[in-house]
Amino acid sequence: MTNNLVYMNRAKPDDVLLYHNREGYLKAVRGGEQMGRVKLVRCFPYSLPDRLISIRSYEDNVEIALLAELDLLEEESRQAAVLELERSYIIPRIERIVSIRKKGSEWIWSVETDYGPSTLRMSILHEGIHELSDDRWIVTDDDQRRYELSGLERMDRNSREQWGKIS
């Protein structure tokens, strides 16, 4: 039986231009046509942060294009997209676990991230750790801040030991 899947809205990267206007709004031009203010949505913000980005009109949330990969954009557009995505997704990546300890009813993580050192406080540990795939987790603290934890094998011994205490 033939597959019913029909590929739509697959944008050719060179078709789409992205830039910030003077007011700081992200705007898009597609095939020479001005598309107005847009927003960028990561379809898979954790596992594929630079792939499958939906460019949607800001006002009515209609998809203008689906970018297969950010790197395929022309450099200036890519920079504008990165800037916009950085503003829209604040997900520090844990690079080192300094300590995980329990103090009273709270779990306190001391970590180093690509945003710098940080402390996470979690009252219910198991509810804050979600496995996305093998060796990739999202850790959400009591403030609802999300941190990406991945590549434990590449981390130092202390990080692995700290993680081993709770996993």
Partner: protein, 768 residues
């Protein structure tokens, strides 16, 4: 008057100092202070954003001014929400400026303050020269400021500890009535079956057994050494023998401790493996069982069976069984030593043993009944908890919390009563045992004392004898206490084996084979079926559905529509007749293979606790993200998924409770699209959604149906307008078949259904 350059410089410096001082005063009296924690370089850094009457200022954590935006330069202020945070954006005359960026904990305070900030921006900038102190001390105008102040006052730590997180409910789940009576089952057979689980770990068992024997010997040794020690004192020994005996006793204790550690180590490994094996078997058996098995039972009870009953069996196999064995061996060993020390006295103390045995026999059935009754009490409590949690929405909606509390209270009281009566029995028995032991102890001291006095027995032998007697009664007492444990284990074993032994209602035939490709022709030949054999639902269905045909099933409630599709999925097998797919009896096709060709979209969509992407890809684990997105597009789900901050990686929660009915439905459609099945079954797929959502779902279904054999059930007959053929079921039989127009014209059952819907909706458009 002309000023000298020096004077000019002094004036300028004086003005600058004055301005700085005024700014400092304004900052001190800022009406709103927000905390930011991510700097422009995208690094964590604490700083404060202060709103005075004239400006927005950013100060670092040492209080130094970093940036200042005069109010007159700001046209607009916007809070841009981000996933897990946000940013405060100022539209100034020089372009866009980011005043601060926040992670989630701080972003909330900023978002809350936005109405006050907007109100502040709308106010005119105060006239220069107006006393800043006076301005800041004046109450803030506009109601918006108040909410801003609240945002300021809310410390991050309070936000962190906001309520609404219930403690995770842990504890045992439902157990339910069993099909077999505990007292009627064959205990020996079951016991052998439990032990059979230990047979793959024979080596560990043997090692454990040898260690057990050694430790029993070591346990008996110190008492005998004590006898020698006392004799050494009383019968004139020497210091070197004393030292030797003390050394031997220390050695026995040391070796005993070592053996005990080794046994615990083996027990842990052995127990863990055993529990894993039993649990795996129990779960595999559950997966093997047909839907009919679960229809007849409360499903949550199986959590308890797989977890708690397995744990009970493991406890028995690793500890209980060994303990019983060691106590028996200990009793035999002690008895031998008692005979060795004083045979006539030992014969005497054995006299009451038959009476004790009779007592045990009398006690056994009573303990059994009491354990059973206590288990029922526990089950009652678990049932109330399980049922209440499952129906929590209804309970809350009808404000029946009090009633449920009372219901739980009753079940709980009953359990407490049972536990107390069980305890009472042991309270009565244990002291009697102790009394018997004490009486025999006194008897031994009296009789033995006389032997010591007349010189036929040494003092050491008497002391050792008395100690061994206590050791002999210990195992007997343990046997009494372990009656409860044995009963519990037997109950658990029975519940586990009940699952393992339950036959599947829909077994594959021996020669069943997988079906690689499917055309999609479905044929019913004289199919009869009833969930309850006394009440037949389908009464002789003969029907042929062509490949790629869309068939709509129509009929009153209870006419047999859902039953018909349940039979196609082989959730049940017909009592009579057969169903064929491409000419092959469904029972000759491997169930797994059959179901891989069938896509199902039901009214009640079940989503697993995972991400949206994982749920869409449920039937196809290796689907690429691109295919998942395309399936979601076809199902009209892509748009709303992109509306979630975490997109396809949004967790849907248990049973998808974080999504609306229409959203869940479209995810189920996407799941079916991705599976790309030859046969599609739609059971009231649009029943519980609003008209707009229904339109979107219908659109998605129309794309999905193309080229597939489809069987659809819908109450709203309008949704079946696109069907190639309608099958009207009435009381388990096919009443009519044909297109909408043909059936409507013939003025039969279908006509009456349409007319009755017309009257209800008063809209001919809605009824086909």
């Amino acid at each position: 008057m002309a000023r000298t350059p020096k004077q000019h410089k002094a004036i300028v410096e004086g003005e600058a100092a004055g301005a700085a001082s005024a700014l400092r005063q304004r900052l001190d009296g800022a009406w709103l202070k927000l905390s930011g924690d991510i700097n422009e370089a995208r690094q964590f850094e604490s700083y404060r954003i202060l709103f005075t009457d004239r400006e927005v200022a950013v100060l670092n954590d040492r209080g130094q001014l970093q940036r200042r935006y005069p109010k007159g330069m700001i046209d607009e202020i916007e809070f841009r929400q981000a996933l897990s945070g946000g940013a405060l954006i100022l539209m100034t005359r020089d372009g866009m400026r980011e005043a601060g960026r926040f992670s989630a904990g701080h972003a909330e305070a900023c978002a809350k303050a936005m109405p006050a900030i907007s109100a502040w921006l709308d106010e005119p900038v105060p006239v220069p020269g107006f006393s800043p102190l006076l301005e800041t001390s004046a109450p803030a105008s506009g109601s918006g400021r108040d909410s801003g102040s609240q945002a300021e006052q809310e410390p991050a730590s309070d936000a962190r500890r906001r309520p609404g997180r219930a403690c995770a409910v842990c504890g045992r789940r439902l157990l339910h009535r069993r099909t077999k009576c505990l007292r009627c089952s064959n205990k020996a057979k079951m016991f052998r079956r439990i032990l059979a689980y230990a047979s793959p770990h024979r080596k560990l068992m043997k090692a454990s057994g040898i260690l057990l024997l050694l430790s029993i010997l070591l346990e008996l040794l110190p008492t005998y050494l004590m006898k020698l020690l006392i004799d050494n004192f009383t019968l004139g020994g020497n210091p070197s023998t004393l030292l030797l005996l003390i050394g031997a006793m220390a050695g026995a204790h040391l070796a005993g401790t070592g053996l005990s550690m080794a046994r615990s180590y083996i027990g842990l490994r052995f127990g863990g493996k055993l529990m894993g094996d039993i649990r795996k078997d129990a779960f595999a058996s559950l997966m093997r069982l047909s839907l009919g098995f679960f229809d007849r039972r409360q499903v949550s009870q199986f959590i308890g069976r797989v977890q708690n009953d397995t744990e009970e069996l493991k406890q028995f196999l690793t500890e209980g069984f060994i303990q019983i064995l060691s106590q028996v061996l200990m009793a035999v060993g002690v008895l031998g030593l008692l005979f060795y020390l004083n045979a006539p006295l030992t014969w005497m103390i054995l006299i009451p043993l038959p009476f004790l045995a009779l007592g045990m026999l009398w006690l056994w059935p009573r303990v059994q009944v009491m354990w059973y009754s206590q288990w029922m009490g526990t089950m009652g409590v678990n049932n109330v908890i399980g049922e209440t949690l499952q129906g929590i929405r209804v309970i809350k909606a009808f404000a029946q919390e009090k009633r449920e509390k009372e219901r739980f209270g009753k079940a709980n009281d009953l359990l407490v009563k049972k536990m107390i009566s069980m305890g009472n029995m042991w309270i009565g028995i244990s002291p009697v045992f102790s009394l018997v032991i004490a009486a025999f102890g006194l008897l031994v001291w009296y009789m033995g004392g006389r032997h010591v006095l007349d010189g036929s027995m040494s003092l050491g032998s008497l002391t050792a004898y008395a100690s061994y007697l206590v050791m002999f009664f210990g195992p007997l007492q343990f046997m009494g206490a372990s009656l409860g444990m044995i009963n519990r284990v037997m109950g658990s074993a029975e519940r586990i084996f009940e699952i393992m032994d339950a036959p599947s209602d829909t077994p594959d035939r021996e020669n069943a084979s997988p079906l690689p490709a499917v055309q999609g022709e479905i044929r019913f030949e004289g199919v009869r079926y009833g969930y309850d054999k006394q009440r037949t639902v389908l009464k002789g269905i003969d029907l042929a559905i062509r490949p790629g045909e869309m068939v709509g099933l129509v009929g009153h409630s209870g006419a047999g529509k859902t039953t018909l599709i349940n039979l196609v999925c082989r959730f049940y097998d017909p009592d009579d007749g057969r169903i064929c797919l491409d000419g092959i009896d469904l029972r000759d096709i491997r169930q797994e293979s059959l179901r891989s060709h069938i896509g199902v979209v039901l009214q009640e969509t079940f989503l697993f606790d995972g991400t949206i992407a994982q749920n869409i890809a449920y039937g196809m684990k290796d689907a690429t993200p691109e295919r998942i997105i395309e399936a979601a597009r076809i199902a009209n789900a892509h748009s709303f998924i992109c509306g979630f901050p975490e997109g396809y990686e949004t967790r849907v929660g248990e049973r998808g409770h974080r999504l609306s009915g229409g959203e869940k439905q479209r995810i189920a459609i996407a799941r079916a699209v991705l599976l790309d099945p030859a046969i599609l079954i739609l059971d009231e797929a649009t029943a519980s959604v609003d008209t707009e959502t229904e339109r979107e779902i219908q659109e998605a279904l129309a794309r999905l149906i193309r080229g597939r054999t489809t069987i659809a059930i819908a109450h709203r007959l309008s949704t079946l307008r696109g069907a190639d053929r309608l099958i009207v079921l009435d009381n388990g039989r096919i009443a009519e078949t044909g297109t909408h127009d043909e059936l409507y014209k013939s003025k039969g059952t279908y006509y009456r259904l349409v007319e009755s819907q017309k009257q209800m909706t008063e809209s001919p458009q809605e009824v086909g």
